[in-house]
Amino acid sequence: MNEDLYWMFIDVANGLLSGSMLGGYYAVIAIGLALNFGVMRLVNLAHGDWLILAAYLAVAFLSMANVSPFWTLLLVVPVMYVIGYVIQRVMLNRVSVQAAERRGMSASFGLMSPLLVTFGMSIVIGQGLLAVFDSNAMAIRNELSFDAIRLGEDLTVSTLRLIFFGIALLMLALVQFFLHGTHMGRAIRAASDDPEIAALMGMNANKVYAVASGISLATAGVAGVMIGMSRSFQPFDGPTFLLIAFGVVILGGLGSMVGALVGGLILGIVQVLAGTYFGPSAQLVAGYILILFVLAVRPQGLFSR
């Protein structure tokens, strides 16, 4: 076989492989945002900051107990669920699109106030983290950081990324099953379509939204721990991840977990391939160019009907 052709093949294969792994991680970062927007038409500008908060929660937990970082999920996920539930009930339900519609205001007007509120929340979370943890970069140390699995002569995959990819598939499947196979999941979909009729089904839309937001932040908890395990982070890193989540949602379309996976995969693969061929600085740029291109050509997302 021609040597050049072989290396070209290896480059592409490595790009596809590690791009896919990255894509699974991106999908997890985006699930919460997609769920919030798909269910409640809530554009949660604080989403990225919740991810970072979860990473700090894991750090705090690890400073008290010397265990494998994966154990932090047992604490971080339930805590994030409760935060999501409570924030939705006491705050976001009052300023939601649905609340605006109940008051007889237009939906477009109603979109504005949750934007402002979550933007404010984003600032508060960032400042709060700064006050508690100061601005030094943190990371969740773990022994897997530099491990890799060899799949072939010149084909390797990071062990950590592979584990994350498995977790991503598991989470997407769980959320999908929850939405389609349980009473509460049906209620979430029903209340997102038509809150008034949901009430006629005996569903309290505000409680249903609170559960949805709880789940959304619980997934953000997992994503936050993943972020902390893959890189260092600082209090104001939230917007970086908000942007990734938006990218995934724009590429994959809303509403379905399959969309989140597809969006994550596209973004991950494009970034890694761009990095391979045009150098590391092209990695981020290529992602944004792709997103802008899709926004210009298909603003409803690549895969939404």
Partner: protein, 249 residues
């Protein structure tokens, strides 16, 4: 029917007014619905028929803009102070105007959504089977997304979804709107079957003849008020027409 059931109406409405902001859409409604009734409500567009039914199930009580005044009692229990969820739990439900299905869900998911209340979940499978018995077509189509179905099929899903809450009183808003006559005949046969199982029915019907044929009581609404009420046998078509359009015409 026992004399007792006659004495205490299933649903008693007294002094009921409903407002959309400043606009009063119905005013000072008094109406008794007895157990076993099929009550037909007729009236011109904008007469307030839908508003009356929405008031009963608490949908006029949900925002600052719309609200009600007056009393609604179901089996002697106040409904007008309850949330819609609690009213449905008490056994009153509405098949809304325009069906309002959850468009992206399948037939089965729409039906199961109707059994969300914890009290209903253990028996949901049994009731689903009953509804498939009543509408065999829905059993074949159970995995189909409802937005792809015909109007008649969608109406069946809407009725089935309401039945999933095993109501004792079911309110149908515009049961036959936009459906072909043969389909309407079929839907009305199903309503009779539902009624025969002991469910009290209120039906908003634009077609006066149909209303008179199916109902044991008819009431006519005009500009937010009930202007005529009685058994079909007691009412002449002329009297109903006069009430429908207002006496001065």
């Amino acid at each position: 029917m026992t004399p007792m059931a006659d004495a205490v109406p299933l649903l008693r409405i007294a002094g009921l007014s409903a407002y959309y902001g400043e606009l009063r859409a119905i005013y000072d409604i008094a109406l008794d619905i007895r157990e076993g009734d099929i009550l037909a409500i007729i009236g011109a567009n904008g007469a307030g028929k839908s508003t009356l039914l929405k008031s009963i199930v608490g949908l006029m009580n949900r925002g600052e803009a719309a609200h009600i005044r007056g009393r609604v009692e179901f089996r002697g229990r106040r409904l007008d102070t309850l949330e819609t969820e609690a009213i449905v739990d008490a056994g009153v439900t509405l098949v809304p105007e325009g069906r309002r299905l959850f468009p992206r869900m399948t037939v089965e998911d729409n039906l199961r959504a109707g059994a969300f209340l914890p009290r209903l979940r253990p028996t949901a499978d049994r009731r689903l089977a009953e509804i498939f018995g009543l509408f065999p077509k829905l059993r074949e189509r159970r995995r189909q997304v409802v937005s792809e179905m015909s109007g008649g099929e969608q109406q069946m899903v809407a009725i089935g979804r309401a039945l999933m809450s095993s109501p004792s009183l079911i309110l149908f808003d515009e049961l036959s709107l936009g459906l072909a006559p043969a389909v309407v005949d079929d839907i009305y046969r199903k309503v009779r079957e539902i009624h025969a199982k002991g469910v009290t029915c209120v039906i908003i019907e634009q077609d006066m003849r149909r209303a008179l044929a199916v109902a044991n009581r008819v009431c006519v609404m005009l500009e937010g008020a009930i202007v005529l009420e009685g058994a079909p046998a007691e009412l002449t078509e002329d009297a109903i027409t006069a009430a429908y359009f207002g006496s001065e015409r």
